[in-house]
Amino acid sequence: MKATTHTEVYRRFDGELRERPLRSVTLAWSGIRVGFKKKLPMLLLFLIPGIFTIVTSFMVQLKFEAEAGTISGMAGMEPSAQTMAMGALLSSQIGQVESLIFDLITNMQFFVVLSMGWYGSGLIAEDRKLRANLLYFARPLSRYTYTAGKLMTVMFWGAWAVVAPVTIVCSVASLASPEWSFLTERWDTILKLELYAVLWVFFHGILVLAISSLTDRRNRALGGLFIFYFLTLAGSNAMAELMSGQGWRLLSIPNNFKRVFDSLLGQTSPGIGWNLESSLWVLGLLTLASAATLARQTRKLEVGS
């Protein structure tokens, strides 16, 4: 006997359920797809990083052409003393390629926080609000897989704002340099830049998710992130000025990352006079606190107390 008000026949599933090690990727891809559907925020958040990337790529290209004396318009001509001099002048004005990339990465950091906050704040908060965790954890899914999936989603958006630009500019530099010299001679700098970008994205990914897991409203999570982030930044800088003590700057996440950046890439930034270990401790403790918060909150989602 068939039920009276529907006409479709139920079909049995004769396939098998497998252990899928990449369940977190499935979860991440779902979140990423939802993000791609919102075109306007994507345009607003990634337009400026995109412009920065294009401009920096152009300047890197110009730098190598200037060094080689083959600036556009002069290609095909024998480099004369005049063009060589112009090239040297232009080259010195543009600065070192590394400096250009360092500037890019520094300028991108704000956009990384913005885009990760925008896309990541709702990832757990919305699940809590809608109780979507019931759908996830009624399936063969652990909270670790769940967290990994959410982390991949938020890191994806962060990567677009900093890892991708760095990769693009380094690729342009490698292609534009004579005989790939930028890649062969500065590969360690490229790796360090990528490592720094990934560290930045990973740290902020965990922070965004931890804040998101504490509330069931996306807007609150977003507000909480920016309040925490900018209050510590402004507060630490203000206290450092008022108390004439650089130690206060350790309270700010960007300042600590700046210290790591300086150590990693052999730079010296003004106003950063503390040792690397202090910054690593601060960032490590913040990462641990965020991870502990995430573990506690996702356990509540997986198995209610």
């Binding site: 139920y10 396939g15 899928r20 797809r33 939802v34 559907k37 809608l130 019931l134 399936r139």
Partner: protein
């Protein structure tokens, strides 16, 4: 897939029949759950047979808490819950159970911004289906719940009925043997409710799914289920086959008369019968313990010169059974507190 023993470790527990008796799909032993001072479940001992079972109870009775415990989404304060031979005491057992159970939550848990196909196929992949199977299967279950072209639209424009059917589809996507449906007709208009009930009925009666239908709507359970459990204040106050619970009672009779019903009513009351009338004017008579059958009623009617047109045993509705059980439970509680 090797079923686990009741302690959650791999073992020999199974859902096979033992000595002709079907193995219960759910077995609860002294199950208690408290949230601080609030006692949501107060020591449940019961076995749910295979097939469609209704879990009835007023709001706050502990129905959703029980479902959470069966899925391992909540940890019991005390006691055990065994689902399809498995006890959700640890993550691996919970994960094993989730492969065999489909859950349709009560809450509006679907994430906006995704289409029905995307949601169902993503959840299918999370359950363990391959990419190809997930897509094929998603379309099959979406066909079954009759989400036609709407499956390619994002959820933002979905009606409540469509969302409920989508939730049912995701619960069915891995073809589980046991379905936990939490208030599937919540918020639906009459047409949507009829549609949902026809799906549940089909799954339970024709597709041989074990269904636990959690509802506070008695007609829903009466229509779709063979067995029922009534939960009130965290306790099972009634459990059994709906057919048996609502079976005609030999001592309650519906007596039709051809005029002079009031005279017969007065005479019966004088003879210590419990008598009332229904909406059609027929008499509903409960025979006293001293009376063996309806012959005495015929005798009284003859003495009063009232012609009888019919005498039928009265069949209780599930609502009457439910209300009586709730009343009895409240009386017991009052007596205990006094």
């Amino acid at each position: 897939m090797t079923p686990n023993a009741p302690d959650g470790t791999p073992g020999s527990a199974s859902t096979t029949e033992v000595a002709g008796e079907p193995e219960p799909i759910v077995r609860l032993q002294g199950l208690r759950k408290s949230f601080g001072n609030v006692h949501a479940l107060r020591g449940l001992d019961m076995e749910l047979p295979p097939g469609p079972v209704g879990l009835l109870g007023p709001n706050g009775a502990g129905k959703t808490t029980l479902i959470g415990l069966l899925l391992g989404l909540l940890e019991p304060t005390e006691g055990t819950a065994i689902v399809a031979g498995l006890q959700p005491t640890n993550r691996s057992a919970r994960i094993e159970i989730s492969k065999r159970v489909g859950y349709m939550p009560e809450s509006d848990c679907l994430l906006p911004g995704m289409t029905a196909v995307e949601i169902v196929s993503a959840l299918a992949k999370l359950t363990g289906l391959s990419r190809q199977d997930a897509i094929t299967r998603s379309h099959e279950v979406l066909d079954y719940v009759e989400l036609d072209e709407a499956r390619y639209r994002t959820l933002d424009g979905y009606s409540t009925g469509m969302k409920q059917r989508l939730k049912l589809a995701q619960a069915l996507v891995h073809d589980p043997e046991f379905l936990l449906l939490d208030e599937p007709t919540n918020g639906l208009d009459p047409a949507g409710r009829r549609h949902m009930l026809s799906l549940v009925e089909d799954l339970g009666r024709n597709q041989n799914k074990n269904v636990l239908l959690c509802s506070h709507l008695l007609p829903d359970v009466e229509r779709t289920c063979d067995n029922v459990v009534v939960l009130v204040k965290g306790q099972a106050i009634l459990q059994g086959s709906i057919a048996e619970l609502t079976a005609a009672e030999s001592r309650r009779l519906r007596v039709g008369t051809e005029g002079n019903a009031s005279r017969l009513l007065t005479a019966l009351e004088a003879a210590s019968y419990d008598v009332s009338t229904d909406e059609s004017g027929a008499l509903i008579i409960t025979l006293p313990q001293s009376v063996e059958d309806a012959d005495e009623i015929c005798g009284i009617a003859a003495r009063e010169q009232v012609d009888l047109s019919s005498i039928d045993p009265v069949r209780s509705t599930l609502e009457e059974v439910f209300l009586k059980a709730v009343d009895d439970s409240e009386k017991k509680t009052e007596t205990a507190s006094v």
